[in-house]
Amino acid sequence: MVLEALGDRTRRQIVHRLRAGPSSVGELAAALPVSRPAVSQHLTVLRRSGLVSYSELGTRNVYRLDPAGLRELKNWLDGFWETVLDRYAERVREDSADRADRGTPPRPE
């Protein structure tokens, strides 16, 4: 869900902006080359994904990054590289077994 939300460049820019601190829709729209309604729509997607949360501050809705979304992202990255290294290790094991079968000693260092 987080990754789908971040597949869009404008949403990445919004998240990027929110790293500096909480912002209102108006502030985000002023800083980005998109309209206020468009920013609102993107914020809705980001909220559903768990990356962004909001609170009412007086009459303003203020958006901020949500650590839960960040954790999900970190988990995804962990899983990504874990799969990659698993596949790599599997290939090295096959390769070593092939060499043993052929009687080729491992190359000395």
Binding site: H16, D78, F80, V84, L85, S96, E109
Partner: protein, 154 residues
């Protein structure tokens, strides 16, 4: 806001493989196509047909798609066989959103190597390079990593 809420720690992974460092290094780089999980870990997903690793600093890691199109995942920044290779990483996004991957190969007894991978570069940069470029490396690259591809694959 506390800084820790907006920073991402480097991803650190390691695996021990039954090969000497040189062989482990060669398999990781020159032979990447033999093991990289292209179907799930590529920009083209089902359309990805190959991936190649450059063989020195400045070389690229390039995915090839069925129609012959290519997608550059990153550029090699350090090439020290058989101990270390490092590269920028911007698979699925632009070079401006690149993060960094470093892989080290450490002998761990005869015919055994510990391979450690660190994927970093989405923390706030203290060196001011980002301010100079008008680009604060951070959340954007994280997300760049395959986000679009994953979205398409689902």
């Amino acid at each position: 806001m506390p800084g820790h809420l907006t920073s991402v720690e480097p991803v650190r992974k390691s695996v021990t493989v039954p090969a000497a460092p040189q062989r482990a290094f060669d398999l990781f780089t020159a032979h990447i196509q033999e093991w990289w999980p292209l179907r799930t870990h590529s920009v083209g997903a089902g359309d990805a047909v190959g991936v190649a690793f450059g063989d020195g600093v400045g070389g690229a890691i390039i995915e090839t798609l069925a129609d012959g199109a290519t997608s550059v995942w990153g550029t090699i920044t350090h090439w020290e066989p058989p101990h270390r290779v490092a590269f920028t990483w911007h698979a699925g996004t632009t070079e401006a959103e690149a993060t960094r991957v470093e892989v080290t190969f450490t002998q761990d007894g005869p015919g055994s190597t510990v391979v450690r991978l660190v994927h970093s570069g989405w923390e706030r940069r203290p060196d001011g390079a980002s301010a100079r470029d008008g680009y604060d490396s951070g959340w954007e690259p994280v997300i760049g990593s395959f986000a679009a591809a994953v979205a398409r694959a689902h």
